[in-house]
């Protein structure tokens, strides 16, 4: 796939989109892990929701 004289602009644009989307996905995945770990730690320390249900559990 020849990209001509402006290949560096095309490759830079696609690479940047791939990088930012990967960072966005990584941030959301890590944030989920972080929040669930914090919730489990709180529940293990004896703090429970008023409903009595686990904060991470699904119905």
């Amino acid at each position: 796939m020849p990209l001509g004289p402006y290949a560096s602009f095309i490759v830079s644009a696609y690479s940047l989109v791939a990088l930012v989307v990967t960072l966005l996905i990584g941030w959301i995945v890590l944030d989920y892990r972080n929040q669930t770990q914090r919730l489990r730690a709180l529940e293990e320390s004896g703090v429970v929701r008023r409903s009595g249900r686990g904060a991470v559990d699904m119905p």
Binding site: G4, V20, D31, Y32, R38, M58, P59
Partner: protein, 243 residues
């Protein structure tokens, strides 16, 4: 499951757990198809291969405005209907919208340099999108600055609705002012001016990026609900210790 049921965060979390894997798979498949079609698309007779930047620039530019539109609807939900998930939806969308707007600006700049001879021009379209990006950053800063989520939500909702004035300015800037940026070529009166060879990959990429946004947004909303649970449990723990 009705819309009323989704007002319950626990039921919303159950729904996201079920549909997120399917949405992620659909996004990956459509992105793969869109990227293949983009790579296989002919060079433009005038722009050459740089037309390939269009397939990532335009979806990001559309999403930069679409996400603010979603946040505006969510802000109405916060201020008018006081829906429990409305401010969660708005807050979760802001960083994703900021990322898409940043990508629209930078990919546009990388497309502009070979085509216009400059990375940046203070014309109406580019400047109004830059303002949109700064508004995203301002909203994110506001949410971080106010500790109480409900107070932050109301202030952010007002700011979001005021900022929505910028959306028609962005859309019609190329018609109202003499700009370096080209006029609309897809969503316009009289139909698209793009050839089908470019229009189809562009639409596939646009749908793929929209699905990507929906997937990331639902996942970020789930994280925000969990973050609020952490906060309320920490407050309960602190009050138990104080008692």
């Amino acid at each position: 499951m009705s819309l009323i049921d989704l007002a319950n965060p626990t039921k919303f979390l159950a729904l996201t757990a079920r549909i997120l894997p399917w949405l992620a798979a659909a996004t990956a498949i459509l992105l793969a198809i869109g990227l293949y079609q983009s790579a296989a698309a002919f060079d433009d007779y005038h722009q050459g291969a740089t037309v390939k930047i269009m397939f990532i620039h335009v979806p990001n530019a559309w999403l930069s405005m679409f996400v603010w539109g979603v946040m505006s609807l969510a802000s109405l939900g916060t201020l008018v209907w006081r829906h429990p998930l409305a401010d969660v939806a708005a807050k979760a969308a802001a960083p994703i919208g900021a990322a898409f707007t940043f990508l629209a600006l930078v990919t546009g700049s990388l497309w502009g340099r070979p085509m216009w001879g400059t990375y940046w021009e203070w014309d109406a379209r580019l400047t109004s999108v830059l303002i949109l990006f700064l508004m995203y950053l301002g909203l994110m800063a506001l949410w971080r600055a106010v500790e109480d989520p409900s107070r932050a939500a109301r202030a952010a909702a007002v700011l979001t609705l005021v900022g929505a004035i910028n959306l028609p300015i962005i859309k019609f800037s190329v018609d109202w002012w003499n700009t370096l940026h080209q006029p609309a070529s897809v969503f316009r009166m009289g139909g698209p001016t793009l050839d089908r060879a470019f229009l189809i990959p562009l639409l596939v990429m646009a749908i793929a990026f929209t699905l990507l946004f929906v997937t990331l947004h639902l996942a970020a909303m789930r994280n925000e609900i969990l973050r609020r649970r952490v906060r309320s449990l920490q407050m309960m723990q602190a009050s138990q210790k104080a008692a």
